[in-house]
Symmetry: D2
Subunit: 304 residues, 4 copies
């Protein structure tokens, strides 16, 4: 299979079609991005790398970052984290409060906002300086110490994040946030503000795709069983209430962000990142979904 | 990997532990089954077969059958079926009416009761005699014409199936059932009453595991893309509100039934069926879940 | 206060305005009614009677009848009925299944469909022939033995009543219907099919308005405390999810039906019935609501 | 009717029974109150006053205060307030977020926390200094300028009020809070911290019971229609998800607070206040409910 040829051709096809959907405008800073940006990067477990379009341009990875904070918490706390957050798809939009009410403050999974806040709260409790510890972790697995938070994005999101304030205080009211909600929210907004290019994303997520992955210090980040479990969560919960659709059409574990990025991976084979800012009605990159559906169909590389 | 050795050992381990959970008693006929039954069968895409315990004893496959009716409808109607049923996990128990109310009668997916009824309704509309057409299909892909409905089970389920009557009439009230609810329910109860052994189950589901599968007449049952999509639905929706847990712990597409059966498969590799009648709180076979978690962990054969 | 003058004038005012809303078309037989019909009758506890328009024309009283079946059950069983049905407003449309699911099959109150079915079920269990016993009761308190069921309406409603079939079977699945759902539904559809004129309605409901009410045999139908409690339920639950609005704007206990009738009463003072078939979005008579708001405002006769 | 005799006797009866229920402990400061406190005051529209027990002791009136803020907003803004808050009972616990989600941030009624916050927001927008304007209003209608906020209670409630912070920010996310959530919450917590005795409560609420009520400056507070409408809202919404039960058993418009106070009134006749800190499961004063049921039954003074 010639990956470069495949991504070039699908990229060109989609470029020729109308660029449908809406940029996320609820975060003022995010709405400034150029809606025509479009990039793809694929990296194999053998470290071959293929890119097209704006694949080296940094963008706000937003919720994709939740997989990384989850991974760090899993590494530090092990299976204890599952006492405070579930692994079931929510069947509801990403910031729904309804299920929290019926589930007594236990978020359905760590990839919806509520669950990611509980993970942030754990990291605050178990590290000296959570924002620093998290950034160190990300730079480490990305092998790139220029990757960092965007204060402008974090601040912008905070300025309008009433629903996230509501979510965090609501969970606190059930006792499932241990620290001050303001501190948890501040870390949460920073955690989501990390900026990376498609190229950097594929490097960063290699630890979930490559069973033999070793960090620069020759350690594995997570053990194989843990990595597989995070992939399973991405598969069932990575795309809010379009998770089933993504499994159905694309057939890879993955995670999207409202910045228009999608990261997906084929265990044992490759990581792929797509970026195009316009979102469909479910809040996932419109061209990103289209690209990945075409890609796995054409390359017959769905895991199913 | 020596599959026979693996299943023997895990079977023995679990046999030695307390047999926890409850038999499904709400269907009178099902409650008569011996709770100590326990069987496993694994069949590879190369037709190697491994079995242990009660793997040749027939039991009521119940909801596992929904994958088969879905497959037949998909074969006949193609992607038109997705206009009347979704592909998203429900995040709710298997017979919840709440989501139907908010979703205007469109069931979340074809593997919950509501969705399976809509599939039954389609088959009634598009075949001359749906119960016969469905049984022919099942016997065909199983290459076994002794597999059949259990009238006793169907009748027993009908006698207490008030919630299913409610579900079917509720969907009808939204216009998403086209035929007489009584006829749909009758077919639905029969469809769920099919009896198979673990051995027969693995043969039957081979068309979803083996890309090169050909029916006795040398035809494929579904095309590759369709088969992959059904696997994806099983992965995200096959275990009611324990689907995420199953993906997390077992990491294979699969489907459970309240008769205590679980069918799971590794695309391109094998089908595996486990049967043990006692169910956990979510309605899935207790020992079945335990067995499969141990099996994919030990054989490192999660698809993730 | 000159009641005749007041009702004449408000009637004339509203007659002059556009007749907004929609006739209930979901029951085929009901959709045949003349949408321009409009009648009012007021009867005081001193048996003065005032009428205007089509006040002597019979129409399908539909859900207004639920107050009568509730009264009969209350008379027969006393406070035992509250073990199987609540007295809280539902906050939801009249045929919602959601609350039944969270409340384990106990309907919120006896004036929503679900609650009325449970009341029907009680009457079936505690009378020899529920349809006959109920009709006897209604004819008795109305002092009119020509009042009867409309078989055409009952049959018509049954032919399309899938949601009611769903409701009844759903409650049965929780064990809160004791008899065969088909029998309960048949009685329920008949109970709702009773036809009366505005004039007859005011006579019929006098036992709830007049503390000194005595039946032809000089017995009270309910004791004072029971009558007050039924009035309280009408106040909080009589207009589905417009009950608060009716209390707010009209300020009288009352009950509406999809046939376009509304019965309201001022305890110790009068009964009033209005009929106009076109319904607002909440399913209550559009001109009926308007009339009663104007009437209690003008006569300052809200109970508040 | 000898009111003094009636309240004395029922007070004595209930005093003799076990004092069931739980003090509200979630607000630390409230949990310090003596659970054995028990007082009643009844004041007629002719200014006869009857009291027993701790009827002159001040306590935290909590949510009873919401009727007063609603009255002030109604006085200032008129019917415009109903564009941002409904008049329907919620059918849910007092701080539920579920309905806000389905109703797009429009609270069901002004007597649940969410609705009271929107009312507070209106007062902030339409007065120079909302906390002062509100206190002036309360002192004015109570004719008592010693009535004031309890900073200790307000502060204590704020320290644990995560769910209220969640509610307010959630409504803000829908745009139905116009001011800074922190300012709205601060006012809201103060508004609920007002302390009054039963005696003062009956004086304060006289403007809703007495059609001829005139303020010290000979002005009416609200017009008759407005007063009736607030009474109607108290009737249908004053006791959270026990509002139907209160209408059913007591039959008066009223409002409860978690401090153990209940204010009820018979339009045109009297105001009555009961205080006993232990709450039933629905969050309403246990002995208060019991007292009022006995009182209206014995005096036959339900409005129904």
């Amino acid at each position: 299979m010639n990956y470069q040829q495949a991504i070039n051709q699908i990229y060109a096809d989609i470029k020729n079609q109308e660029n449908l959907g809406q940029i996320a405008t609820y975060i003022p800073e995010l709405s400034k991005v150029d809606p025509e940006k479009f990039g793809i990067c694929l990296k194999t477990v053998d470290y071959d790398e293929f890119g097209v379009g704006d694949w080296k341009t940094k963008f706000s990875i937003q919720s994709i970052s939740k997989v990384l904070s989850l991974s760090l918490a899993y590494k530090i706390l092990g299976d204890d984290i599952w006492e405070r957050v579930g692994v079931e798809p929510s069947g509801n939009p990403f910031n729904s409060l309804i299920q929290l009410e019926t589930d007594n403050g236990i978020p359905r999974n760590p990839l919806i906002n509520a669950g990611a806040m509980v993970i942030c709260d754990m990291l605050i409790s178990h590290t000296k300086n959570a924002p620093k510890a998290f950034l160190d972790f990300v730079q480490h697995i990305c092998s790139n110490n220029t990757v960092t938070y965007s204060s402008a994005i974090a601040k912008s999101e905070k300025s309008v994040g009433y629903r996230n304030v509501a979510l965090c205080n609501f969970i606190k009211s059930f006792g499932n946030i241990k620290n001050d909600p303001a501190e948890v929210l501040d870390f949460y907004f920073h955690m989501c503000s990390i900026e990376m290019s498609c190229q950097q994303l594929t490097s960063t997520f290699m630890f979930l795709a490559n069973d033999n992955f070793r960090s620069p210090e020759k350690n594995s980040i997570l053990n194989i069983s843990q990595a597989k479990r995070i992939n399973a969560i991405m598969q069932t919960c990575g795309f809010y209430d379009e998770s089933g659709e993504f499994a159905f059409k694309v057939g890879l574990p993955g995670k999207s962000g409202v910045g228009g990025g999608i990261l997906a991976l084929h265990p044992g084979s490759y990581c792929i990142a797509v970026w195009s800012p316009k979102l469909n009605k479910k809040g996932n990159s419109s061209r990103g979904m289209k690209f990945l559906e075409a890609f796995t169909t054409q390359t017959e590389s769905s895991i199913f």
